[in-house]
């Protein structure tokens, strides 16, 4: 691989790793509090899988040999400040109600389903292998979350109302994954990642069709789509909990 591509590729991987970590963390806030035992087991399983994905992707980032003092997966997770995180903004929002969390996970699963085929044929072999592993688990996640979204959208008036509210809040933010990032153009050219613009139309149309079939109205996207270095205070709250014990004892072995 052309050494000049290491930095933008690392940046791409960090964004995806941060997505998985932040989402997993949010999902794990439901453990012990889900609407019923079966949902608790299932959603905790998804959180566990996503954390594994994060670890895999942070590992790829570390392998690219950056010179930063903060480089290993644990260092990246526990010792960066909020501005240094590269997750998409939707991931860091608070868990809301069950409809909010189910929809968010569904959108993420559908976005991964869109990106992963291109990533599994990346010319950067470690990424291709990681993507293949992730894709196997994601297939199950998508089946799971799609089944829940369908049921909540088509359940009672109340559940539909909650899903509609969630969709209105989340749909514009979901577009962030398909906004072209100029820094990634060279990665696309080198066959390391697929082009966001090429994936966008199909994903968009599939999702609109799915939501309309569920009886939900897809809102117009009229707000600014954030960049990966644009975060909310929710991320600060999340990190202060996530990093609390590790930061209280820097250098300690756990």
């Amino acid at each position: 691989m052309n050494p000049e591509l290491a930095a933008p590729l690392a940046d791409f991987l960090l964004g995806r790793a941060d997505d998985e970590l932040v989402l997993s963390h949010r999902n794990s806030e439901w453990t012990g509090h889900a609407p019923i035992l079966e949902e608790d087991i299932a959603f905790t399983n998804i959180a566990l899988d996503e954390l594994g994905h994060a670890q895999l992707l942070y590992g790829l980032y570390a392998e690219l040999g950056r010179d930063d003092p903060i480089r290993t997966p644990d260092q990246l997770v526990y010792f960066r400040e909020a501005p240094a995180f590269r997750n998409a903004q939707l991931a860091e929002l608070p868990i809301g109600d069950w409809a909010f969390s189910m929809l968010r996970q569904y959108l993420f699963d559908s976005i991964e389903a869109s990106w992963l085929p291109g990533l599994t044929s990346s010319r950067y072999q470690p990424l291709a292998e990681a993507a293949a592993k992730i894709a196997a688990e994601e297939r199950y996640h998508l089946r799971h979350t799609q089944a829940r979204v369908r049921r909540l959208a088509g359940g009672t008036d109340e559940s539909q109302r909650r899903m509609q509210t969630a969709l209105e809040a989340q749909w514009p933010l979901a577009q962030q994954w398909f906004a072209a990032e100029p820094a990634h153009a060279q990665l696309v050219e080198a066959g390391l990642i697929p082009a966001a613009e090429s994936l966008a139309p199909r994903w968009f149309n599939e999702q609109v069709a799915f939501f309309e079939a569920c009886g939900l109205a897809v809102p117009a996207v009229e707000r600014h789509i954030p960049q990966r270095d644009e975060h909310t205070e929710h991320l600060v709250d999340l990190l202060s909990e996530l990093q609390q014990v590790a930061r209280a004892h820097p250098g300690a072995v756990w």
């Binding site: 644990d74 359940g155 300690a252």
Partner: protein
């Protein structure tokens, strides 16, 4: 020895039942069983199931603060297992004729009990290690015994649980070892956790044998094969040398080693505390129940939505 018979059960039926158990046969759903056997088992199994579910709360709270990725994943996997164990146990109880709905209602109303140990709070990260090492360690001793119990579905549920539980204890023990050998702050943290969890764990094995009137009958019925005091002593003998090797102290100034029996003999257990906590006046009983009730109430609209969808799919009007 003959069993006391109530009006419906004949001496012959009871004798035949006890003989089956003495032969090592498993009692399966649908087999004849004394009413008292069924009742005791429903109580024990549902209490066991509730313990797994409520037990998710003290540990689940620290997933978000686990100090490295490995610990975070391990804790997620452990708590997920506990939910799964609750499932296996509810299923085993259902084979005796009680419904899931009844069991949940009993838990949320406070009629049903769960293991007292989960009425204690997790105050530091070190508590998570100690819970795995002590509480899961104690549970393994109990569940290993129950894996041989006379009621088939409960025995099989415990076999499956034991297989999965081994990592629960080991991950906790690994953490306690690490902390005990770590920085002075980590050592202090884990010693403090040991001091708080030692006595409640000893109480997990139940009241002393001379205050456990059920035990002889449970032994005759093949549900218990070891008494509370026997299990408790095994636990103490296992843990004390290990804690001392780690440089940790046991919070029992009266603990002595008895050469003749090879047992570490504990000081007096405060059974007043035990009964107080059993009756609902422990450190966090109210918070535990509030959390379970909140999850149940807040989740009602979700359960109703799933039911409404299923009924629409089946072509019936939603209730």
């Amino acid at each position: 020895m003959s069993e006391p018979a109530n009006g419906r059960e004949t001496q012959d039926q009871l004798a035949a039942f006890v003989a089956r158990i003495a032969r090592g046969e498993k009692i399966e759903p649908g087999d004849w069983m004394p009413d008292d056997y069924r009742r005791q088992l429903i109580r024990m199994i549902s209490q066991h199931a509730h313990s797994e579910i409520v037990g998710m709360l003290p540990e689940g709270a620290w997933i978000t603060r686990a100090p490295n990725l490995r610990r975070k994943m391990v804790l997620l996997a452990k708590v997920q297992d506990e939910a799964g164990h609750g499932e296996y146990l509810y299923h085993a109880a259902e084979t005796l004729g009680v419904s899931r709905q009844e069991m949940i209602d009993d838990l949320l109303s406070g009629r049903a009990k769960y293991s007292n140990i989960f009425n204690y709070p997790t105050l530091t990260w070190a508590d998570i290690g100690v819970i795995g090492y002590f509480v899961d360690g104690a549970a393994i001793l109990n569940q290993t015994m129950l894996a041989r119990c006379s009621y088939g579905p409960y025995a099989r549920a415990n076999i499956r649980i034991c297989a999965e539980e081994s990592f629960h204890m080991k991950q906790g023990k690994e953490m306690v070892i690490r902390l005990s050998q770590g920085s002075s702050e980590q050592r202090a943290m884990v010693q403090d956790a040991v001091n708080r969890w030692w006595w409640p764990t000893l109480m997990m094995f139940g009241p002393p044998d001379d205050e456990s009137p059920n035990t002889p009958q449970l032994v005759r019925w093949g549900i218990k094969t070891r008494t509370n005091d026997e299990l408790r002593q095994t636990f103490i003998n296992n843990l004390v040398p290990e804690l001392r090797a780690m440089g940790l102290s046991v919070p029992d100034p009266d603990l002595t080693f008895d050469e003749a029996s090879g047992n570490w003999l504990p000081g007096a257990i405060d059974w007043d505390e035990f009964w107080r906590v059993v009756k609902g006046d422990g450190p966090v009983n109210r918070q535990r129940m509030a959390a379970r009730r909140a999850a149940h109430d807040d989740g009602r609209w979700v359960r109703q939505a799933f039911e409404a969808y299923a009924q629409k799919q089946a072509g019936r009007q939603p209730a």
